[in-house]
Assembly symmetry: C2
Homo-oligomer: 480 residues x 2
């Protein structure tokens, strides 16, 4: 054994014995040199070896961190949805998730909200307070229908980081991303139309389809590369698809990001079949590495992509500040915006504009994503430890949502019913499908500050899931 191999072995042993745990920062190179009395290059070499075996990772300006052991965990499988347009159901389950949020007594492990306890959000509260204190009468008046120019300018600036060159007039501010999605779908479709969606897919969008009498054509989706372009092409040949609705970056719930080349190919496919794309980029800025991934919109040279986004996942959903870049559909989208809610609330727009303009947004997002990345690893290690063996687990490179695929015996809705006695709630997978698929899947949130209480809750979820697996096996045995 060379000297650096010895150092690597020492560190590996400590990790395996839980002295350094998943998500922990390892001692700095300098500290290792001092402790083990080796040279800097030896310590560096040891760390490199640990990285090569995916035991640890280096994060720019932060140091080295223990990774969850990837070996026993597999990715969720590729979805195989029904290959025909379907009506949406599942509203009761969605309602249970969204009806009650603030002041909920339960631990909402499946919720889709970021962490807003970070100090880096403070400047926004301060700006909001001072805008109101100054008794600025603007706050009481209608804003411009397309949104405040101050905010649209900042949104255009941020969009550059995703590869988009947008003019502030290309942007319409909305009441949350949900309104952007709703406007986009209503702009492009008539009742009865077919919309192609990735699968699993965000339940909010699915419910928009339901409300508008639209049919979902769920396209097989790979947990690493996203919507299958091959299946999509076949579908475009076979069905009169009016729009393609996708969340290609840090997908909710599956966590994947479509590689850039596939995003470009998707755009070209849409162009070839002359169909519009609705791109949901609400998580796009929450990237664990920089630069953040490009949007499909960044390839859009003829205005067919309606880009929907907002500040709900980066800042906080309670502000209801979203936006839409409607491309060539601007006039109809503006009409839809007017009839939907009129102009959006004034002061939240001005406050968010200032938060971005002064650099607070970028600082906050940088801080939050550093926490989320660490917490992803911790949450994965808990799932590996407490959930039934063989669970498929996503490995997102941004955002704060984990997708877990359990053995077929587990049913997310029934699991939730059992968890109710412990005041725990997860997001059952069937929410994310028109055809009731993904019953054995769950979505978990790792934006929380991960306390022992949350670890205990995750363990409880795992125990109940294991119970369901065992019951099914017992039943199977009994039947034999």
């Amino acid at each position: 054994m060379t000297r650096y191999e010895e150092v690597a072995a020492t560190l590996r042993e400590r990790i395996e014995h839980g002295i350094y745990r998943v998500g922990d920062r390892l001692p700095s190179i300098r500290a290792v040199c001092q402790e083990l009395n080796v040279s800097i290059s030896t310590a560096q070499e040891a760390y490199r070896q640990l990285m090569d075996t995916a035991l640890i990772e280096s994060r720019p300006k932060s140091g080295y961190f223990v990774l969850p052991s990837r070996a026993p965990s597999v990715l969720p499988s590729i979805s195989r949805p029904a290959q025909r347009p379907l009506d949406i159901s599942q509203w009761d389950q969605v309602l249970e998730l969204v009806a009650t949020q603030r002041d909920d007594e339960r631990l909402l492990l499946g919720r889709g909200v970021p962490n807003f306890e970070y100090e880096t959000l403070r400047p926004l509260s301060k700006t909001l307070a001072s805008l109101h204190r100054s008794n600025d009468l603007h706050g009481f008046n209608y804003d411009k229908l397309s949104g405040s120019p101050e905010l649209r300018q900042q949104v255009a600036r941020l969009a550059i980081t995703s590869g988009c060159l947008l003019h502030p007039d290309d942007i319409v501010i909305t009441t949350g991303c949900q309104e952007a999605l709703s406007i986009a779908l209503r702009t492009l479709t008539q009742p009865g139309d077919v919309v192609a969606v990735d699968s699993p897919s965000f339940y909010g969008t699915m419910q928009i389809l339901k409300a508008n009498g639209l049919k979902a054509l769920e396209i097989p989706t790979d947990p690493q590369t996203g919507i299958s372009l091959e299946a999509l092409e076949l579908a475009l040949e076979q069905w009169p698809i009016r729009a393609i609705q996708i969340t290609p970056t840090f997908n909710n719930p599956l966590g994947y990001t479509m590689p850039e080349a596939r995003k470009r190919a998707l755009f070209q496919l849409a162009q070839r079949f002359d169909v519009a794309i609705i791109e949901d980029d609400i998580y796009g800025d929450l990237s664990f590495s920089l630069p953040r991934p490009r949007t499909v919109k960044s390839f859009d040279d003829d205005g067919r992509v309606m880009l929907c986004s907002g500040f709900s996942k980066t800042v906080g959903p309670g502000l209801r500040v979203g936006w839409l870049a409607p491309g060539r559909y601007r006039d109809q989208a503006l009409h839809m915006k007017y009839v939907s809610t009129g102009a959006s609330a004034t002061l939240p727009q001005l406050a968010v504009a200032e938060f971005v303009a002064k650099g607070h947004y970028e600082r906050h997002v940088r801080f939050a994503t550093r926490q989320y990345q660490r917490q992803r690893d911790i949450m994965i290690s808990w799932v590996q430890r407490y959930f039934p063996k063989g669970a498929g687990i996503s490995y997102p490179q941004g955002s704060f949502l984990l997708w877990v695929e359990l053995p077929a015996a587990v049913d997310g809705v029934r699991l939730n019913q059992r968890l109710a006695q412990h005041a725990i709630h997860v997001a059952p997978g069937s929410l994310f499908s028109a055809s009731g698929k993904f019953r054995q899947c769950l979505r978990l949130n790792y934006a929380f500050t991960l306390t022992p209480e949350i670890e205990a809750a995750v363990r409880t979820v795992g125990e109940f899931a294991t119970e369901m697996v065992e019951e099914a096996q017992g039943h199977a045995v009994g039947v034999n």
Copy 2:
């Protein structure tokens, strides 16, 4: 002449000579006694005589005020819309009105916003500031889908004054009244359906019809008693009407309030034909006398009335706090709310709830309506003075919108084009009709603090309108 007749004559002379002008408060009874050396009962008798001839009016706890001379002014005529369902157009004109509000360089004489310069709004700004300053994390989180319980409780309390007994759970908070209307119409209709509306009718609702592919059946409407029940009954017999959409209290733009008996009869008619009512009560609290008029909803014993309202006209539209009492359609309405914008913004709801709970709302509305009532009279006197002879003028008993019907030669849209050079904008009447009726009508706002600058603008509008009348006459002469 008796002594009191002499006193009345003296005061009448002063009014006619402009010593006391329209909207001015007259000297108190005590002051008159001292000045003219008469008894209290003589002064009271004199004032009573002036009231009998509609020269002045008494306002509780405020005193006596000079009224505009009603003699030469007539009400607008009863509308005679096309008696068949129509598609909506006019979006371009609506867009011009709503696209740009804040920071507009023009004087928007036709806008639909209240006055938010009054000190009585201050407590709301303070509450908003302190909620944000306290860094209450609630503000960043999603609220309950149906809205904050605190606010729903206060809304239920306020609704009592309109004769409604609502439980907080009967209420859904929305993003402005516009969203309430949009949800109500989408809940009740499918594309192609026919909706009966009063005529003229708020352009925002008309545009919702347009966006949803609905047809408007405009029902003749009386400028004093509202929608014609006789015409409505005929229409209900003849057409498959899905919903009746009306603004029966302080109607925008016509200003009337349906008498209580007619509201009840309207409800019974809807019941007989088993059709739903969408009642827009956004101006209902701005009554010049107390108690405020009852809503149609107050007669609703089977949940067929969807009541839409909010705080945009009483507090300020920039907050976007509206509400809906969906009656028996609650489940579908809640689904529509979810897909439209998700939960509404959190802190504005909490702030408005506190504003109402602490009595600030009632105080503010009382103060504002006192100003509006006085300003109504002043604005009417300006229109009488500066507009072409024979203009029909509404006489609203609440709210802050005046409707003026000019000679047929005047076209509101063309008038606006001419007014552009003076940076003045009015709301042209054709906005309020599906069939392009009311071209010769205008809507004016008297919520402004009525400065000489605004008087000058009203005069300019009158001059341009007179010019159009004279041009038409010249043309007619030339043709003869």
